[in-house]
């Protein structure tokens, strides 16, 4: 049975249609990545799926045994808030030192227990967030652009880590990213989003689909491709996006 099944999701912010008729499922143990340009509704979709937001239309069904481990896009830790890594791992629930240390080791940040959160590097910070999510013993790990601010080797290492975690714990992984090339190699399934689901399937299928190429260009080599895509691609279903207008502004 699917861990999460979304049917016909629709979200509008004021006049803007952010998500339109989005269907998707996540099954146990698979790594699903949502890719899409800026403003394509990736984070909104993620927030609807985890329940941080109620969609205007459509429904989200969650498996009764669903346990989400959430890795937020960023944390605003005010410098006035003193927080060591160890204390952070005990939020929101107390965990014994051994379990917490094991999660820290699994996330590749074993030596950081006593360090203040404010003094961590971007990569260390992401690993701590991952360790905290693992403490929830999730069967679904949800990551919102987990490698923002990391350099290429850093983010490649982080995605390898995610894959290892999946192999070790068997949890499903849902992430949002726009680092296509890295994501492509680690995902079981890719969902290409631009307000609606443009295309989905295995990384190979998506990379070779005309919709995907229309959005990201023929090369999957990252950021530059984002600026080369054209929006005049056609769909076999109607979508609420004004592709012509986007083309003008692109």
């Amino acid at each position: 049975m699917a861990l999460i099944k979304a049917t016909g999701l629709g979200v509008s912010f004021g006049e803007t249609l952010v998500l339109n008729d989005v269907d998707m499922t996540i099954s146990a143990g698979e790594i699903v990545t949502i890719v899409g340009p800026n403003g394509s509704g990736k984070s909104t979709l993620l927030r609807c799926l985890v329940g941080a937001m109620t969609p205007d239309r459509g429904r989200v069904d969650r498996a009764p045994d669903l346990k989400i481990g959430y890795v937020p896009q960023k944390l605003m830790i005010d410098p006035t808030l003193p927080l060591t890594v160890g204390r952070f791992l005990n939020l929101p629930r107390k965990t014994d030192r051994k379990t917490a240390q094991a999660a820290l080791d699994q996330a590749g940040a074993g030596a950081l227990w006593d360090r203040p959160m404010s003094g961590l590097s971007g990569g260390q910070f992401q690993r701590i967030l991952l360790a905290r999510a693992l403490l929830e013993r999730p069967n679904l790990l949800v990551l919102d652009e987990p490698t923002q601010g990391l350099d290429q080797p850093g983010s490649a290492a982080f995605y390898r880590l995610i894959e290892e975690v999946r192999t070790e714990t068997g949890c499903a992984v849902l992430m949002v990213s726009h680092e296509l090339h890295v994501v492509m190699s680690t995902s079981d399934r890719v969902i290409c989003l631009n307000g609606h689901v443009c295309c989905h399937g295995t990384p190979e299928v998506v990379a070779n689909s005309s919709e995907y190429r229309a959005l990201f260009g023929t090369g999957t080599a990252g950021a530059l491709a984002l600026y080369r895509h054209e929006h005049s691609h056609s769909h076999d279903h109607t979508c609420g996006h004004d592709h012509a207008r986007e083309k003008e502004s692109a």
Partner: protein, 265 residues
């Protein structure tokens, strides 16, 4: 309880009560950058004082009612994402001005405005003391009960959601606690300086703390020290008590700041 017959003992207990209630709440005010929020709520309370005088109600009741309304109005405003700094500033100052105008209209009572603006801790009665400690302990209990959820919501609303908390509800807990602290602290430090008692002890405690809990406890210790030192200074130098307490807290803030700077240098 004969020892409560001494007005200095009552004053000291009132000051300690407010310091204890303000410490954990003040930490969240600092972490969530709600300083202006505290000021707006406190300033609005003077309007409640005017209402209480007009309706012959206990001052705490009117102040609490208006503080609650103001606190929730302000938090609604912040959810709408208005330019918060300006919006809060407008609210805080207009509430104070309106309150002062309203107090002047209250007929038949000679009101000592200074007592409400800066506190009149030496006039604290036994029943005032009961209100301060009941309110204060209620706030401490509430914040302690929601502590983990509040901390999580402070770090990231999305994280709180994913952990099964509603960050909006946790925000309301803080809003309510703030209104209660304002209402019980009027007698002690007055509406103008409540913000200071919320803000300065946690700010002073920050360099000494490595965990949020340690910061809250240290803020309590610093607040209590400031309250008692201020009371002593007021007695020794015949200075106004509320402002003396805040001055003592400010001195502790500077002292701790300088010492930790020197140690790290």
């Amino acid at each position: 309880m004969t020892f409560l017959d001494d007005f200095l003992i009552r004053a000291a207990l009132a000051g300690v009560g407010v310091a204890v209630a303000a410490a954990p709440l003040g930490c969240f005010v600092v972490w969530r950058r709600m300083a202006y929020f505290g000021d707006a709520t406190a300033h609005a309370a003077i309007l409640g004082v005017a209402l209480s005088l007009a309706l012959s109600l206990p001052v705490t009741v009117g102040a609490l009612a208006v503080a609650v309304i103001m606190a929730f109005a302000v938090s609604q405003l912040s959810h709408r994402g208005m330019a918060l700094d300006t919006g809060l500033g407008v609210l805080a100052h207009s509430a104070l001005a309106l309150g002062l105008v309203a107090v002047s209209f209250v007929q038949g009572v000679r009101v000592d405005l200074g007592a409400y603006l800066f506190g009149d801790i030496l006039a604290v009665t036994k029943s005032d003391l009961a209100v301060i400690w009941l309110g204060g302990l209620a706030v401490v209990a509430l914040v302690a009960w929601r502590w983990s959820a509040l901390l999580t919501a402070t770090l990231s609303p999305d994280l709180a959601h994913a952990s099964g908390f509603n960050p909006k509800r946790e925000g309301m807990v803080l809003t309510l606690a703030l209104a209660v602290v304002v209402a019980v602290a009027i007698k002690v430090v007055g509406v103008l300086l409540i913000g200071a008692m919320l803000l300065i002890p946690p700010a002073a405690a920050r360099p000494l703390a490595r965990t949020p809990e340690a910061m809250a406890v240290l803020a309590g210790v610093i607040g209590i020290t400031a309250a008692i030192t201020g009371l002593w200074a007021a007695f020794a130098f015949d200075s106004p008590t509320g402002p003396s307490m805040v001055s003592a807290a400010a001195l502790l803030f500077v002292g701790i700041g300088v010492i930790t700077r020197l140690k790290h240098a």
